[in-house]
């Protein structure tokens, strides 16, 4: 399998305290990598570095063969790296299908110019995307939520919708920050199955999770971090 993300000797410190120390690992396409570690192990800082919210002091982040460590958060997300936070971040005043359609990267209706000059194309594309969003919701058994306002959904439902947004976005790499936190066992199962299904469709996952047993059940590689450094890399697929 070809490498989608390569991290080489990544270092970051805050006020002289090392948050990430010489971290190196790589991820192949369509893999699921689990990162675990105690609080302060450097997991979230690593996510911030990959998504461009923080800049490393040293080291390289290579995505699809391109160095991205100096790029802005917007440029990085436009390359196809999406991050899901622990608390689902939906557009709470929009309907569920509108959330999904808004997640689509690069659709015609995104700019004012295309709205004015390609109004018909934008309208047709929007209709098609709405159909696609509803089909996606149906695929995961969430079709009844389509016309509900996102802010009125339960926490678990919001998490499920945020996963549908990943699928709509056309992302290549999804960074999940504690996807199972605060969920009941059946929703955890549902999300696990969504992750596996999306992986089969081409999305690569990097996951931070404290519910290790549940996450190990779907992961290919397990990385354990301690005090900013990688302690163990365990290739689950081959063991």
């Amino acid at each position: 399998m070809s490498e989608l993300l390569e991290i080489e000797n990544l270092n970051k410190s805050f006020d002289g305290v090392a948050a990430v120390k010489d971290v190196s690992f790589s991820m192949s396409k369509k893999s699921i990598v689990l990162i675990t570690g105690e609080n302060g192990a450097g997991k979230t800082t690593l996510f911030n570095l990959i998504t461009g919210l923080d800049k490393p002091l040293k080291g390289k982040i290579i995505f699809n063969g391109n160095n991205i460590e100096t790029k802005s958060a917007l440029q990085i997300s436009q390359l196809g790296i999406i991050r899901l936070y622990q608390r689902p971040r939906l557009f709470k005043n929009l309907m569920v299908w509108e959330n999904l359609v808004s997640a689509v990267h690069n659709n015609s209706g995104n700019s004012f110019a295309s709205l004015i000059f390609k109004s018909k194309v934008a309208r047709q594309e929007d209709k098609m995307l709405k159909k696609k969003a509803n089909a996606l919701l149906a695929k995961f058994g969430l079709q009844d939520l389509s016309n509900q306002t996102a802010g009125e959904l339960s926490y678990g439902q919001q998490k499920l919708i945020s996963f549908c947004m990943i699928a709509m976005n056309g992302t290549q790499l999804a960074l999940l920050d504690e996807p199972f936190a605060g969920l009941n066992p059946s929703t955890i199962e549902q999300i696990s199955s969504m992750i596996l299904q999306m992986r089969n469709e081409g999305i690569t996952f990097l996951i931070i999770e404290h519910n290790i047993n549940k996450a190990l059940a779907i992961a290919d590689i397990h990385i354990e971090m301690k005090e900013g450094a990688i302690k163990i890399i365990n290739d689950i697929a081959t063991t």
């Binding site: 917007l74 808004s102 995104n110 700019s111 594309e125």
Partner: protein
């Protein structure tokens, strides 16, 4: 009859102002304290191009819209980078700067003396100079702006503007630039406010800085708060309540001086009641925070 038509013209101007504020406050979640600035820019640009350059209304209007767009673009470069409370502070600063400029730049704005002799619009040689013709003229503009919003609210761009209002970081995470959507919203809002200013200047034929103060900005914001943000009907309702309230007070046969003050007292009371019992406003879709 002329008085009722005059009230209608003023109502139309406030509907446009409330719709323009709704673009920022309701659709973008940008709590603005400077809506009167773009109203003023539209009015002054119209007045100056007509009185100093001899433009007709139909040349002055595009100039006013262009001036509003440019000033909004300039403002959005600064304000587009800040959020929530800091955005409101930036708008407050803009309001203070604008008032100081129009009050003190006497060679251009004539300061506190104001600009007089602003000619009325003409359509095919027909001078729009009566309250009736102006009510019709303003009504057409209101209709155009409402139809624009009926269309715009259904567009993917408007959806993304609202998505940016709900969660800027998520928009960024999805590979879209939230600053762009804020900029578009600020510019659209300023165009509508500029049109209102342009109508106001040519209707009254005289403008001075006192029509474009912080009080006016707060009033426009209050109209949206009362009517409700995020929908077309909300700002229209808010404007109707504000403008028609003193007319209803006339049925109580209060003395003129008291009736005028009663309007602000009742409007303030209504605002307090709305905030307490119906925080989204009468027809609001979105809670202003």
């Amino acid at each position: 009859m002329n008085y009722l038509l005059h009230i209608l013209v003023i109502l139309e101007i406030y509907i446009l102002l409330a719709l323009s504020a709704n673009q920022k406050v309701g659709l973008s979640g940008l709590l603005t304290l400077a809506q009167a600035v773009f109203y003023g820019v539209g009015a002054y640009a119209t007045a100056i191009t007509i009185t100093k350059f001899g433009f007709t209304y139909w040349l002055a209007l595009p100039s006013a819209i262009l001036t509003c767009m440019l000033s909004a673009l300039l403002f959005s470069f600064v304000a587009g980078k800040v959020r929530e409370f800091y955005f409101s502070l930036a708008t407050l600063a803009l309001q203070i700067i604008f008032f100081s400029v129009v009050y003190n730049w006497i060679s251009v704005t004539r300061g506190s003396y104001g600009i007089t002799g602003i000619s009325n619009p003409e359509i095919s040689g027909l001078n729009i100079n009566t309250p009736g013709s102006f009510a019709l003229f303003g009504g057409v503009w209101v209709l155009v702006v409402i139809l624009f919003y009926v269309w715009f609210l259904k567009t993917p761009l408007c959806r993304l503007i609202q998505a940016t209002r709900d969660d800027e970081i998520e928009v960024l995470s999805l590979g879209k630039n939230p600053k762009y959507y804020k900029k578009i919203s600020i510019i659209l809002s300023s165009i509508v406010a500029g049109i209102a200013g342009s109508i106001y200047a040519t209707y009254t034929t005289y403008i001075d800085p006192t029509s474009f103060t912080l009080d006016e900005s707060i009033l426009i914001l209050s109209i949206v708060l009362i009517g409700g943000a995020g929908r077309i009907i909300g700002p229209i309702t808010g404007a109707a309540i504000y403008i028609l309230l003193p007319e209803f007070l006339k049925f109580l046969q209060l003395p003129e001086g008291i009736a005028a003050n009663m309007r602000m007292i009742l409007f303030g009371l209504l605002l307090v009641l709305i905030v307490r019992f119906k925080p989204k406003g009468i027809f609001g879709k979105y809670l202003i925070q």
